[in-house]
Structures are given as C-alpha cells and as structure tokens.
C-alpha cells in the first residue's frame, strides 16, 4: 500500500453556538486515486472540505500532506501545499475571457506587463494535457456551465494542484457533460493527480471513484473500496438504515386535466422563451418535463401557475380557460405549486412556520374571519401539518428561515399538499435535500397523484424524473422535441441525447407518447 498523499486525523470543528459540524473525522487519500466523500446534507462534507482547503480552522485534529504535518491559516497555504478546490458555485469573472480567468491572480508577466500570449499558450497546453477541452479566448459568460466548470478546474491546475477537491461537480451537468467530466478526471489521475470527489448521487460515485469515505452526522462511518459496495449498501451507510427509493407507477390514468395548446411565452425583453408547446396532463399521472435548465420547462410551470403572461396559445384547466384567472382563482380550482427555489419563491423565510403554512389560504374561514386572523386556527393547522409531514421544527411559531433545507422543503410540500390538489406543479422538488427527506417528498408527490392530481414535474435530476414520471416530454430551446412513455429500458443517456439536441424524434414517435 502506498503512503497517503493526504491524511486528516480526528478533525473536529465546532461552530460558535455549539453546532458540531465535524466530530473526529478521518480521511485518508492515496496518491493517484479518485476518492469520493459521500453523505447526506449536514453530514459535514462541506465543513471537512473547507478544513482541507484552509477556509475553516479545525478545533482539534491534524492534517498531513505528503507525510508533512500542515497547519493552514487560509486557502493560500492550501494552494501552496498543492491543494485545489472547485466549488459548486463558481468563482469566475463572467466578462473576462477563459485564459484571463485561469491566470487571474498569478499572471505571467513580461516586465511589468501581462504576457497574454504566454497565458493563452499555457492554458491551451493545460487543457490538452488533461483533456479539458475549452477554448481559451471567449468570455466565460458565453460558455455553457460544463465548460465553466472546466475553467475552474484549469484554474486549480494552473496553480499546480496535486490534489483537486471537486464539490458536487455533477449537480449542474447534463449526463453527456458528466461523461466528459469523468473522462477528464480519469486523465488527471492517469497523470498522477489525486481527486477528492464530493457527491450524493450514488451511481456516479460508484462509477468514478476508487475508494469512498462515508460521513453521517459529522462523523466518518466508514471507508470502503468502491468495488466492495453497491448502491443500496452505500445508501444504508449514509442514512443509517435501509432506504428504498423506488416508487410505484400510476395504476390508472384518469380524465384529461390540463390542456396546453400551441403555447408561446415571451420574456420581458421580447426574447421567445418557449414556442408551440402542446401537451396534455391527465388526472392520476405524473408528466416529467425533461431538459437542461433554461429550455422552457420552468417558464411553462410559471405560466400555468399564473405568474407569467401568455403570449400565444391556450391553457385549459378542466375545460376552463386559465388565461383570465388570477393566481388565487387558479389555486381555488385546485392548483398547487412546489416552486423551484424554496427560499426565493416558496417561502417567506422571515415569517413563522404557521404563517407560511396558511399563506396560500387566506380566504379560508378557518384562518380568517371578517379580515381578522384566527390565530388558533392558523396554529392548529400548523401543528397538524408539522406532525403529518414530520417536519423537524421547534414549534409553529419558529421562523422558517431557521430550518434546514430539507425541512424548509417539507414546509412547502406540506402547504401545497395539505389538501388534495387537482393539478400539481413541481419544480426541483429535492434539490439540496437529503435522502431521507427525498424519499418522503417523492412519496408525498405520488400520494397526490394517486389521489387524482395531474402532476407536472420538472427536475435537473434525470434519475428523479425517471423514477417518478409516467410519461416524459423533452424540452430543447423552448420546444418539445421528444415524448416518451416511461418504461424500464428508458435511460438517462437516451433522454440526454434529446436534451442536448443531438437526436430528434419523428413526429409519429412523439405523437405516440402524447396522449
């Protein structure tokens, strides 16, 4: 066995206020391997990475790099020790070119002036060497997300990182881009670099990593060879119990609930966001909206919810044209919506849990009588929903903003599903939510479906779409380019090819899946 290139022993980090984020965490990374760190949200992965990169100082424990004990006071020390980090949220200057971003902070100089030619050449050389294909010249903001990520990786490599930490790198990528990233990671390790890969999508972890460290509740619960584990044993280690993420398909499909016909959506600046959208959703089915983010799925959901004007075409809910109805009238007809971003759209984080749970039903006599709030009714409703949706919270009067992401999402789900909806709009229901809560939210959505809701589901997670949807439509550049009836052989690779516009479906094939 080779000596570890990086070894963290007994790392403990307690935040002021007493939150124990890391409690005696051990991590041993061997040179040239891809080492995955997995765990649910709040398991302490991010804190550990911040310690490794010098952003957090551990309260106890030691760190060795290449057998040398190190004591980082900031990221600068970590970079000098050969550690590079790519965050989930990139830190690039959008208006700068690729090469400028890569060399920013340690530019090659010719005298006192910036040696651009040399910078471009270096970036080109690096990108060829590590198979991170990206043109050094265009401005970063013009690149797709996958390429921006490569720029981030190049930035670390330019600073000669021997150990590269990637924080949930696949969260923002389409399947094909994930493959390209994996190719690059393999090229990196083939040339002796070491990669630490943080993730919670287990299939990817199993594919790319050599060894896996599992974290739970701030502690390391195990270090395993990837070849010795499978998805369910890994999930059980992460959660601490057996989890099943399988859901049952809809038994029967009912009447047509929502008709979208030739819908056209235009942004405020006149740019067409979506055009010629035609689809139907039936009671008791989940229709998955597939597509790379920004291809019109979110906009369609907003239009149905009444938050975005319709520029052409029609929306019909159970025979009633939707166009004339206000948001409240749509909600009164049984429309519910779990929006994409719970903090920006789904909740008032400064208000209490009880107020958030009542906010969509302020015409309900249980909550309001003659304009006066019925505090007891609002509170009772919250207590009941907290129990029914097992929301972990101190009480109904606690501010929503103090809850964890998973529990915030449960507040949104509880409010929207407290009464059986007729039509349910769901966008990214489990983004940044841990496995336990994901399981619960999926169950809530399928329960709503079985209760007769027509569900429109959009998600960046293809596994989620494949697990939940009865039918799927693929969006590309604001149009529907393919439709499928979900079946066991349908894979994310197939969907990915349509999502990226690589393949196209014949009108006949599409019509076959358009009920």
């Amino acid at each position: 066995m080779t000596d570890p290139i990086l070894k963290a022993t007994g790392i403990t980090r307690i935040y002021p206020g007493g939150t124990v984020a890391n409690d005696g965490v051990n991590l041993t990374v061997r040179p040239g391997e891809v080492h995955a760190v997995v765990g649910e949200n709040g398991a302490g992965k991010s804190t550990l990475m911040k310690v490794l990169f010098g952003l957090e100082k551990p309260d106890a424990g030691s760190l060795t790099v290449n057998g040398q004990k190190v004591d980082f006071t900031g990221p600068k020390d970590a970079i000098e020790a050969g550690i590079g980090m790519v965050f989930q949220h990139f830190s690039l200057v959008p208006s700068f070119s690729v090469y400028e971003n890569v060399v920013l902070g340690s530019e090659p100089a010719k005298g006192i002036s910036f040696d651009r030619a040399k910078a471009i050449a270096t970036v080109r050389e690096l990108s060829q060497k590590f198979r991170l294909t990206v043109d050094p010249l265009p401005a970063v903001r013009r690149l797709p997300v996958g390429q921006q990520q490569r720029v981030e990786i190049l930035k670390a490599l330019y600073r000669d990182a021997q150990i590269l930490i990637l924080d949930e790198p696949t969260a923002v990528l389409a399947p094909q881009e994930v493959e390209e990233l994996f190719t690059a990671i393999r090229a990196l390790t083939a040339q002796g670099r070491t990669v630490i890969f943080i993730a919670h999508k287990l299939p990817e972890v199993l594919e790319i990593s050599d060894r896996i460290t599992v974290m739970r509740g701030g502690k390391t619960v195990g270090e395993v060879e990837t070849k010795d584990v499978d998805e369910s044993s890994l999930a059980a280690m992460m959660v601490g119990r057996e989890v099943s993420l399988r859901v049952d398909r809809a038994a029967t499909t009912g009447e047509r609930a929502l008709e979208v016909k030739n819908l056209r959506l235009v942004a405020g600046n006149g740019v067409t966001l979506a055009d010629d959208l035609t689809l139907n959703v039936h009671h008791g089915e989940i229709l998955g909206l597939v597509g790379v983010e920004g291809n019109g799925q979110a906009e369609l959901l907003e239009a149905i919810a009444g938050l975005r004007p319709v520029a052409g075409g029609s929306l019909t809910l159970q025979g009633t044209p939707l166009d004339e109805l206000t948001v409240l009238e749509r909600r009164d007809r049984g429309l519910a919506s779990i929006p994409e971003d719970r903090i920006a759209q789904g909740l008032a984080t400064g208000a209490s849990v009880a107020e958030n749970l009542a906010a969509t039903r302020l015409d309900d006599p249980r909550f309001v009588r003659r304009g006066i709030l019925n505090l007891k009714g609002i509170r009772d409703n919250a207590v009941a929903l907290i129990d029914r949706f097992s929301i972990r919270v101190g009480g109904p009067d606690v501010d929503v903003g103090t809850l964890s992401g998973g529990n915030m999402q449960k507040v949104v789900v509880a409010r929207e599903l407290s009464e059986q909806p007729q039509i349910l709009l769901v966008n990214q229901p489990t983004r940044g939510v841990d496995l336990g809560a994901t399981q619960f939210i999926w169950k809530s959505i399928t329960d709503a479906r079985d209760g007769g809701a027509a569900v429109l589901l959009s998600s960046a997670d293809l596994q989620e779409l494949l697990a939940l949807s009865d039918r799927l439509v693929v969006f590309y550049r604001g149009r529907i380019v393919a439709a499928f009836v979900n079946h066991a052989e349908l894979t994310s690779e197939t969907l990915g090819a349509y999502m990226l516009g690589i393949e196209t479906q014949t009108p006949e094939a599409m019509a076959g899946a358009m009920r």
Binding site: Y15, P16, G17, G18, T19, A21, G42, G44, S46, T47, A305, L307, T326, V327, L328, R330, R331, S337, P339, A344, Q345, G346, L347, A348, T349, G350, A351, S352, A354, E355, A358, A359, T360, L362, F367, V368, G371, I372, L373, L375, I378, D397, V398, D399
Partner: protein, 356 residues
C-alpha cells in the same frame, strides 16, 4: 405572531444601549472641546428634560410625534417599501387640519376629530401617489416620495405665507386657532397634551392591524418575499399601494397633531423642524415593530430634548448640537454592524448564524 425570542431581543437592546453609551461619550468629548463649563453643559444635556413639568411636557410632546412618524415608517418598512414621504404627508395633513380649524367648524367640538380625519385623508392621498406610481410605472418610491416631500413643503409654506398669515403682517404663520381646535392639555400649562394619547392609541392600532388582521399578514408576507406572496395568490401591488396609503394617513394624522398641539395651536412655515424624518431612525432601531416604537421614541426623544435644552441653557454652540444629534443617530443606526456582535451574541448564549 411576531416571533421575538427573548435572547435576541435582549441582544438588540444591549447593542443599542452600547451604541448610545458610545455616542454619549463622544458627545461629552465634543462638549469638553467647545464649552467653558463642560460638566454643567453635559449635566444639562442629561438631566434637563426631566427637570420640570414644562421640560417633561416638551419631552413627551416630542415622544408623541416621534412615535407617530416612527409608526408610519415602520408600516412601509415592514412591507419592504422604502417610501420616505412622511414629511410631505405631515405638511399636507397639517394644512388640511388648519383649514378645518380656521373655518367656522373651528369653534365647535367637531374641529379636532374632523381635523384629524381630513388630515389623514390628505396624508393618505400623498402616500397613495408614490405607491401607485411604483405599481403602474415602476417609479422608485424613494425618489417619488422624496420629491413629493419637497412639493408639499414648498406649497404648504407658500399657502401659509401668502394666504393664511394675516395680510400685511409679515408673519410666517396663521392666526392662532380657536380654543376648540387645540388639543386639551393633560397637565395644565405644559405641552403634555392629547397628542401622546393619540400616539399610543395608534401604536396599539398599528400593532393590531399588522399582527391580527389578514391585511397585516399579507403586508408582512409581501415584505418578507414579494415573489412568494404573488405565488401564494396575494396581489403584492395592491398590498403595496394600500400600505403606502395607510402609512400616509398616519403621516397626515401627525400633521394634525402638530398644528392642533399646544406647542403650536396654529400652522407656521417649516413647522415640523425635520422631526418627521427622524421616524426613519425610530423605525430602524425598533426593527419596524410597532410596540417597540414608543419605547425607542421615549429614549430618543429624551436625548433630542436634552440636546436642545443644552443649546438654550449653556454656552455650547447650536451648531454643535446638530453634530451631537447626528452622532447619536449615526451610532445607534450603525449599532447593527458594531464589531463584537458575535461576542455579544455568545455572551447572550444565542447561536449566531452558522454557514455550513
């Protein structure tokens, strides 16, 4: 359901008190540098407002007015609208109440309630305009409300000078109102009048509206997150306009309390002495919570009156008073970013926000 946790409320109070202490220390240094008798001057500053019935009346009169303007600002701030139009509303409200007082109704007992009502109507119109302009045309309420302030002040001053002042007298105020149009004194011979009662009743009313009515809940939800409120079926624009209108009514009421109060009993040009604007400070320190507004007004009013009495009774130059007042405002307002905040938080056993 204002979820005020005792620990955090305590932290805030500590923070504000610390800021006041620093402000007083700096003020003392300034007095030391500018006065022949710094100890006497500073003692006047600290004790004068409480020294006699008359000065206590001055203080309470300020408290009443600061409370009303603080409430008006709190309301719009809770809806996260930065409408700064209270001053303009005070002027149009004051003028409206003056018309009632100087009309034949002025000698009847109806004058005071009717004057207040008319003032509230005038103020609410002044509050409605920036709200509507924002909803309809996207005009920034900061700019439009400030401009409306200038318009109101200039127009009202002109009406007073050109039409209400006795012709040819060269005065810059209206004739005195009839007794029936002046708020009754609670303590005879002082400014301690009905104004403070009006202010306290309004405090209760604003609290009730904000925390016990559906409109108040909608207002707060829009303030927390307008995008969410729209998605929940709340018409954020309607809430926004109505909030500014209601806040305008409170501003107008303050105008009536001004001109009907025992301090004036008539309308004069520039009558608010910029006090209306200081409601911003009151609202910020009170974190826009109506029940905290009178408490903050009580403390701030004391310092304000103390500084003014120091100017009248000692050799501290009047210019310095402005400096001292501005310092207090500056320090109290910036107490929200004082260094050592985490330290205080830990002292209070409260978890600071943890970024994981």
């Amino acid at each position: 359901m204002s979820s005020i946790r005792p620990a955090s409320a305590l932290t805030e109070v500590t923070r504000v008190l610390l800021a006041v202490a620093i402000a007083l220390a700096v003020a003392f240094l300034i007095v030391l540098a500018t006065s022949e008798e710094p100890i006497k001057a500073f003692r006047t500053f600290l004790t004068a407002p409480f020294s006699s019935n008359r000065t206590r009346g001055l203080w309470i009169d300020d408290v009443a007015k600061l409370t009303l303007t603080g409430l008006a600002f709190s309301l719009v701030f809770q809806a996260r609208q930065f409408a700064l139009g209270v001053q303009g509303q005070v002027y149009v409200g004051g003028l409206a109440a003056s018309f009632i007082a100087l009309s034949p109704i002025g000698v009847t007992p109806l004058s005071i309630p009717l004057g207040m009502l008319v003032a509230m109507c005038a103020g609410s119109v002044w509050g409605f305009i920036p709200g509507y302009a924002k909803a309809r045309f996207g005009a920034s309420e900061i700019v439009s409300s400030l401009m409306l302030n200038y318009i109101a002040i200039r127009v009202v001053n002109w009406v007073i000078r050109a039409h209400l002042a006795p012709p040819g007298s060269g005065q810059l105020n209206s004739p005195d109102f009839p007794d029936a149009s002046v708020l009754p004194a609670i303590i005879q011979g002082t400014r301690f009048d009905l104004g403070i009662v009006v202010a306290l009743v309004m405090t209760g009313l604003v609290w009730f509206v904000l925390y016990r009515t559906v409109w108040g809940l909608k207002l707060r939800l829009v303030g927390h997150n307008p995008t969410f409120a729209e998605g929940a079926g709340i018409r954020a624009n309607v809430v926004m306009i109505s909030t500014m209108t209601v806040s305008g009514a409170i501003g107008g009421l303050l105008g009536a309390v001004y001109v009907q109060g025992r301090a004036f009993g008539r309308i004069a040009i520039d009558f608010d002495g910029n006090l209306a604007f200081e409601g911003i400070l009151i609202a910020i320190v009170a974190k826009s919570r109506p029940l905290a507004v009178p408490v903050v007004a009580l403390a701030y009013g004391y310092l304000r009156q103390g500084a003014q009495l120091m100017g009248l009774r000692t050799d501290v130059p009047t210019e310095i008073l402005g400096v001292v007042q501005a310092l207090i405002i500056l320090l109290v307002a910036s107490s929200f970013t004082l260094p050592g905040r985490a330290f205080i938080a830990r002292l209070m056993g409260r978890k600071p926000e943890v970024a994981r």
